[in-house]
């Protein structure tokens, strides 16, 4: 199955004694957009941080099961080169938090970590990625100023840019628009649409309309007190929104869609 980027088998996560989610089986197809929806606290963010292995920084986590990336098991794999793996897995968090330094350094720090480039090449890369996220015209004159002075939407696009500049294979986005106003949301969404053709995207969102607009596949997480989160239903976007199989999904979609 070469066309799945991630294959997840029987994945369970506990933090301390608390089960966060269990029994997750999921394939994430290449070059398509997968949206994860579900109520708050059902483990969507935790699931994303398993995919980029950031979960390993939490103390007392226990991950059982198998996560395969291009058919290689990545969890509990000591041979995995974490730095180059994370280069290929871009992550965008809910809160846009660029590094507290200049806009240029936000992009050049990750770039220099992974590539050896000449100054001019580096500047070209920075310029082209800023153009890609639609920031170039807005900030070209203050690229050496602090990134903290940007607006929320601009910060989030900068965070997208600093992941994109590394040429990732997949972008994991955890509610990338939830801290943004409608107009910035639109800009970021348009950007995600544009990226769709060339990379795999996994996006967690509470905005079902957004999931509908962006995603090819939908994964619905649900929650039960004993075992934590689990996947109640998944499938293609049209099918899931038009005729969900489970009653819970139907009422969740109806409730949230209004």
């Amino acid at each position: 199955m070469a066309d799945n980027l991630f294959e997840i088998q029987d994945l369970c996560l506990c933090i301390g004694n608390k089960p966060i989610f269990s029994g997750i089986n999921l394939n994430i197809p290449k070059n398509q957009t997968t949206a994860i929806i579900g109520p708050s606290g059902c483990g969507k963010s935790s699931f994303l941080s398993c995919l980029n292995l950031l979960i390993t920084h939490i103390s007392k986590y226990r991950l059982v099961g198998k996560i395969c990336w291009n058919n290689n098991k990545i969890n509990d794999n000591n041979d995995l080169d974490m730095h180059s793996f994370r280069r290929k897995v871009g992550t965008v968090f809910q809160q846009p938090m660029p590094f507290p330094t200049t806009i240029r350094k936000n992009l050049s720090i990750p770039l220099r970590q992974h590539f050896r480039l000449k100054r001019s090449e580096e500047n070209d890369r920075i310029e082209s990625v800023l153009k890609e996220v639609g920031l170039w015209e807005e900030i070209r004159h203050r690229i050496d100023h602090s990134a903290n002075d940007l607006s929320g939407g601009q910060k989030q696009r900068l965070c997208l840019a600093r992941a994109l500049i590394l040429n990732p294979d997949v972008m994991l986005m955890d509610e990338p628009c939830s801290a943004l106003d409608p107009i910035s949301t639109q800009t970021v969404e348009a950007l995600i649409q544009k990226l769709k053709s060339k990379l795999t995207t996994v996006i967690v969102t509470h905005n079902l309309q957004q999931a509908k607009r962006l995603a090819d596949h939908i994964v619905v997480f649900w929650f039960d007190v004993q075992s934590g989160g689990y996947i109640i239903e998944s499938g293609s976007s049209e099918k899931l929104f038009s005729s969900p199989e489970e009653d819970i999904t139907r009422s969740y979609l109806r409730g949230a869609l209004g």
Partner: protein, 284 residues
């Protein structure tokens, strides 16, 4: 009922007390600084700043004393910063999880911060001067001061590192940055303002300290030729002139004046430097 009548009084009373205490503090400051300026300023000249002392310090200048002070200060700062940074990073648990075995060590750092300076002097004398064979020297003095400042500096840096949002670290990890890159490119620039505070504490301590230095850097008044020479700082000079040398008071005041000016000057320079660094790394 009564409180209802009193309530309109409370605010003016409070304002009055506040004003009075501010005035008291300002008055004390003006008194001390004014006294030093009054007694010291008219007699200061280049000969005093750049000359060598004579007659046990009653006459002549204080060049060797100024030089020794600067050397001791520099050694203390240079020796403190790397250790304080690493200790602070270690206890802040930002980049590396801290094994529970090590947590109690934090208490030691707190306790060390409260140990009186004489004890550090005794330690410095035993360890640096005798055990390591550095003798009464500027190096021993500077290192002893560094030991003294280290706990507080480490604490300040630990708090500074702890206050860095986790998102910066996890954001860096998510981009595949090495721990060293995260540390040097993201965390260090964020704590630069606190480094200013450490500079100022170091300077304050080094300029004010007498007890710890009497045991370690000694009180020789010659121009230091190397870091292994003994040398006295401005404070020790003042102490010696006013306590041990009859007729040394005039020069003690002049030295005190120099000390205050130096304190202000170095504070200012540290401030400017750090602001420049911060601007370079954080953007305008």
């Amino acid at each position: 009922m009564l409180s209802l009548y009193l309530r309109p009084m409370i605010n003016p009373c409070f304002q009055g007390v506040k004003l009075a205490s501010v005035l008291a503090v300002v008055a004390v400051f003006i008194w001390i600084v004014g006294d030093i300026f009054w007694q010291g300023l008219p007699k200061i000249n280049a000969d005093f700043l750049f000359g060598t002392p004579s007659n046990a310090g009653r006459d002549g200048g204080i060049r060797p004393v100024i030089l020794s002070t600067i050397y001791i200060l520099a050694i203390a700062i240079l020796a403190t910063l790397p250790f304080a940074t690493l200790t602070g990073l270690f206890f802040s648990e930002k980049l590396f999880p801290l094994s529970p075995i090590f947590r109690p060590l934090q208490r030691f750092v707190d306790i060390l911060a409260g140990v009186p300076s004489v004890v550090f002097g005794l330690f410095g004398n035993t360890y640096f001067c005798n055990y390591l064979g550095m003798g009464y020297s500027i190096l021993s003095g500077g290192l002893t001061l560094a030991c003294m400042i280290l706990p507080l500096a480490a604490k300040i840096l630990q708090n500074a590192f702890s206050s860095i949002p986790n998102e910066y670290v996890s954001g860096g990890e998510a981009l595949g940055l090495s721990k060293f890159t995260i540390f040097s490119k993201i965390m260090i620039p964020s704590v630069l303002p606190q480094v200013t505070a450490i500079y100022i504490i170091c300077i304050g301590r080094a300029l004010a300290e007498t007890a710890a230095l009497l045991f370690t850097s000694g009180y020789v008044m010659r121009d230091p030729e190397s870091l292994f020479d003994s040398g006295r700082t401005l404070s020790i000079h003042i102490y010696d002139l006013s306590m041990n040398i009859t007729g040394g008071n005039a020069n003690a005041y002049k030295t005190a004046f120099v000390l205050v000016i130096m304190l202000l000057l170095i504070n200012y320079i540290a401030h400017i430097t750090i602001r420049k660094w911060t601007r370079l790394s954080h953007g305008r």
